[in-house]
């Protein structure tokens, strides 16, 4: 009894004279207990909510969750579109006159012989017949059938396509087309090469822009091998396209560019000089 009273008296004296030290000592021992009791009281408060209040809280949290999930779906969708558009940013920067429309491969028919495919853009998106189809790696083909919402792409592996091309190093011209013999290996052929060409393996082949269907200087691939045609002994080159056409899934359509549908100036000047010479002879 006397001991307890003496301890209390000491505490009073100490805290009266030096309240900060005393407060510190008291708080040191009581703070953990206070914290625990406050937490217990707070959690007890939640259990004191009525069932209706809790249900309302659950409903509002679920609604918020749904809204956030929708926003997340939009976010991933926009992120995907952004990634797709980034790929063609360089192409657009180099050629500001191009109208580029990204598209996704939606269907590949099992009876398709030369790896043609369908994409999810059509006339309502501004796609027209014979529009070139590219990827960030190079030319893939051109639109051969189009309807309102989809179109079919004929690839450069098909013998039905013919692309006027140039060798970027030597400027030798030619025609790139597909071949039934090489299409399975994702290879194309370059034919109508001048007999006095100076091309080598590894040269880069680009579109020439002649004919007004394909814009000029779009990469196609590189020369894998140069040999003579087995039927007419004309030189031909096997081209390895930069894009894996058999597995491509994202492409872009060039719906408009400067010079679309017009013959190039060099061709038109040749034609006009021919017409003048025939007129003068008459």
């Amino acid at each position: 009894m006397l001991g307890a009273i003496s301890v209390l008296l000491i505490l009073v004296i100490v805290t009266a004279g030096n309240s900060s030290f005393g407060t510190y000592i008291v708080n040191l021992f009581t703070m953990p207990m206070q914290k625990a009791t406050v937490n217990a009281v707070d959690s007890a408060k939640d259990t004191q909510k009525s069932a209706d209040e809790l249900q309302e809280e659950v409903n509002s949290l679920e609604a918020e969750n749904r809204k956030l999930r929708d926003m997340l779906v939009d976010y991933y969708d926009i992120k995907g579109q952004n990634e797709q558009l980034k790929k063609y940013y360089n192409l657009k920067e180099e050629n500001p006159d191009y109208d580029i429309l990204p598209a996704t491969v939606i269907r590949r028919d099992p009876n398709e012989n030369f790896y043609g495919f369908y994409i999810d853009k059509g006339t309502i998106d501004g796609v027209e017949l014979h529009d070139p189809v590219v990827t960030e790696n190079g030319l893939v083909g051109m639109v051969c059938e189009v309807d309102a919402t989809t179109c079919k792409v004929r690839t450069i592996l098909s013998p039905d396509i013919q692309v006027g091309v140039l060798n970027s190093r030597t400027s030798d011209s030619g025609i790139v087309t597909g071949s039934s013999k090489y299409s399975d290996d994702n290879l194309s052929l370059m034919t109508k090469i001048p007999a006095q060409h100076t091309m080598q393996e590894g040269d880069i082949i680009v579109t020439s822009g002649l004919g007004g269907i394909f814009p000029e200087k779009i990469r196609i691939g590189e020369i894998k091998e140069i040999k003579l045609d087995e039927y007419d002994s004309q030189p031909m080159a096997i081209i390895k396209p930069y894009e894996n056409i058999q597995e491509v899934s994202l492409v872009a359509i060039i719906t408009n560019y400067l010079g679309k549908g017009t013959i190039s100036k060099s061709e038109s000047s040749k034609e006009s000089s021919k017409q003048e010479s025939t007129a003068s002879k008459q």
């Binding site: 028919d109 099992p110 009876n111 039934s180 013999k181 399975d184 899934s249």
Partner: protein
């Protein structure tokens, strides 16, 4: 009551055709074997015609053929005509002359698929003058024919269950 079951069965067949039309076109979904991918619709319409009357088989053959033409692009009507005639004939055969069994289904499927794809090869490859006919037929069409016929048992059993269970 029988009519209701029949209509329900036709709805299931139609859904089956549409789903398979979508699935066979999904890029890189069905694995390629020896350079060929199967046509999923053809074995299904052939097996449907084995369990249905002639007129029904004719319409489903037409629908399946049109779906195959649309999937292929280009000329509409090539597979439609072939499948319409074949399905009508198969329905007549199985209702009048031969029993419907798996072995019969496999034989019929092989004959029809080989004929249809060979004609497709003739009209859309040989006549276009692409060259390398023998190589291309062996590397593309033969594998396509065999792969398509190999899926016939699945189509047979599924449509057999539908024909037997969804009826009076």
């Amino acid at each position: 009551m029988e009519r209701r079951f029949r209509i329900f069965r036709y709805i299931i067949y139609s859904t089956e055709l549409l789903v398979l039309f979508v699935i066979q076109g999904i890029p890189n979904f069905i694995p390629e074997l020896f350079g060929g991918k199967p046509s999923l619709i053809i074995p299904v319409v052939l097996t449907i015609s084995m369990f249905e009357p002639k007129l029904t088989a004719l319409w489903f053959g037409l629908a399946g053929g049109l779906l195959t033409d649309i999937s292929n692009g280009g000329v509409i009507g090539f597979f439609a005509i072939i499948m319409t005639l074949c399905c009508y004939f198969i329905s007549y055969l199985t209702s009048e002359l031969i029993r419907t069994r798996l072995s019969v289904a496999m034989a019929i499927s092989f004959i029809v698929v080989a004929m249809a794809l060979s004609l497709h090869f003739l009209f859309f490859y040989v006549m276009c003058g692409y060259g390398n006919n023998g190589y291309f037929f062996v590397s593309h069409y033969l594998s396509r024919i065999l792969y398509t016929v190999a899926l016939t048992p699945i189509a047979y059993y599924v449509n057999r269950v539908l024909a037997l269970r969804v009826s009076l």
